[in-house]
């Protein structure tokens, strides 16, 4: 099976800080991969490079046959819009939009009409258990509810790959498990690949495979250790 995502020798610096130094990683289609590691190890940077949000200084990122690091910003934006869904630690919902509009707006950016986007958004909010919060704004939602809306937003576009950067980091353990269960359940149901960044071993245990980033270098965690 050819890999869906492949990073080779990726290096990324921020000013004088070397975040990634020759990181390499291969992810197959339909896999759920956890990227773990201590704070500041470079795991979020790796995820952002894999998702085409950041461009590495050196190395290659492949998505299928496409060389991601060689695409310009517009092409990477189109790819993220069409093929990727992204969930962040603090939801990152637009504070002025209602929960339904937050989900719908992603679909509208993909070209859906408002009525169609709203209907799909409501459907996804129901699926993640926050259908009754559709008309509320992020400030009126609990952390868990906001994160469920963020999950609905990421999945509503039916992405091939879901990137989740510490999706449960701001939640208590019960809410965190619920959100993770929803995210992985919906993604597996659709056969989507999930790349999950976490520093929590319990969260990493949900993944098919775990890799650790330490000082900007990726190493595989043997199944027996997990």
């Amino acid at each position: 099976m050819s890999p869906l995502l492949h990073a080779r020798g990726v290096t990324k610096t921020f000013g004088r800080t070397l975040a990634l130094r020759g990181a390499s990683l291969t992810i197959d289609a339909g896999e759920v991969v956890a990227i773990s590691g201590p704070s500041g190890s470079g795991k979020s940077t790796l995820l952002h490079c894999l998702a085409g949000i950041l461009v590495p200084d050196e190395g290659e990122i492949h998505y299928g046959e496409t060389r991601l690091d060689e695409l310009d910003e517009d092409a990477r934006t189109r790819l993220r819009r069409e093929a990727f869904g992204i969930v962040f630690q603090f939801g990152g919902l637009v504070p002025e939009l209602t929960a339904e509009e937050n989900v719908a707006v992603s679909l509208m950016f993909r070209g859906s009409g408002r009525a169609e986007a709203s209907a799909t958004a409501r459907d996804w909010l129901d699926r993640v258990g926050v259908g009754d919060c559709a008309t509320l704004r992020p400030g009126e939602l609990s952390g868990g509810q906001a994160q469920r809306v963020a999950v609905a937003r990421a999945l509503a576009t039916e992405p091939t790959v879901v990137f989740a950067d510490e999706p449960t980091g701001a939640l208590d353990s019960v809410a965190g498990e619920e959100v993770l269960g929803l995210l992985l359940g919906a993604a597996r149901e659709r056969g989507a690949t999930v790349v999950l960044v976490t520093h929590d071993n319990r969260v990493a245990a949900y993944a098919d495979r775990e890799v650790v980033v330490r000082d900007g270098v990726v190493s595989e965690v043997p199944a027996v250790v997990r």
Binding site: F14, S44, T45, H48, A51, I53, L54, E73, D74, T77, R78, L79, R80, R81, E82, F84, G85, I86, F88, Q89, F90, G92, L93, V94, P95, E96, L97, E101, V105, S106, M108, F109, R110, G113, R114, R137, G139, R153, A154, D165, E166, G169
Partner: protein, 445 residues
Amino acid sequence: MPFDIAAMLARGTSRAERRRRRLLACCAALTTFLLLGAVNLMMIRGTEQTDWAGLVAEEGLRPGTALALVLLVIPVLALLHQSGRVAQATQERRLAALRLAGATPGDVRRLAAVEAARIGAAGAVIGGIAYVCAQRAAMAALGVRDTGRYAIALWVVPFVLVLVVAAAAAVSLLVSRHVVTSPLHVARRSTRPRPRRAALIPLAAGVALMMVGTFVQWLDLGISLLFLGAVATLVGVMTGSGRLVLEAARLTARRARSPETLLAARALEADPRATGRTMAVVGLVVAFGTGAGVIEWDVYHNASTADAPIGSFWLVSFGLTYAALLFALLVAVAALVVHRAEALLENGRSMAVLAASGAPVASLRRAAVRQTLIAATPVCAVAALATLLGMAPELATGPNPVMAAWTAGRALLMVALAVAAAAAVTAASGRLLSRAAAPERLRTE
């Protein structure tokens, strides 16, 4: 205590903070300059015959000129207010750290006021010196002989400086009313009431008074009513802009078909007061410009009827009016840019998440421009319409299609210019948005 700590905080600041301080100092300097001009005019006695400097030389016209200078302070105050709000956002960590160090919310507010007063004082001194020097240079260039009659009395200057410094501190305290500083974060109170419909009452009353004023011929009552109506209309534009922005945003959000329009309308709906305040100044420019158009018509019409050239007094007056309108518009759009910066500081992360999720930054920029269009169009249109309605009886007394076309066309032109200026400035500030939506904003500490 606040003075010592404010002095400590003044050292070691970021580039953004230094830029904000320069902006505050500039506002204080401009306010001082304009107020000194107004006070100076009111202190001149007697009339001197002049062809072109009537607004300054004629005793009966000086109060009006002084009032115009004071009115020009309004856009500067709007900019000052906006800069104060952006200060609260940029100082977030610093203020939270002070709370953590034991400062009470009152201490933090006082500190901010002391800092504003300190920067205001620096700006006011610069403005004062600039006024005295500029006046002397202007009098020398124009060959004014009796300079003592026109030069500002130096003993007045400190009073104006104190007034400006007090205003800077007051604006800071006013802005911090809606900010909650806790040891963990700084937040703006979200429970502020929405602008009410009643805020439009002065506008309606002003139009009605102007209309009645143009009919009343008894003694000076007509003129007084007309003046009162004009003042009420201007006040109405100031108080009612927030409500107009809210209504326009609600209507647009309901009908939005594109994500850009939806984002723009909802952003306005969430905080109509802040945008309304900035747009109010743009609306005032439109109202003044429309009113000036009616007077211009009178002057041109009378000159052509009498087959005489337009007097230099009027030409100079029109030129000064245009200059004042341009100045007010420039300051208002500068306040708009500061408002954009503030909004992006507060919501930049959600913009970065949208961009990361595949929303093109160009779309987000379009949303920003649409936000300005949705807010500016109704405010400017209503300001122009209110002025035209107030003048309607006068326009209707001598049915003259050319006059009606001129004034309506002039009003339309003012609306178009103001809206276009606001939209162009928002579009030009797109770099702020690109920076706010940059992937670096996604990094968590």
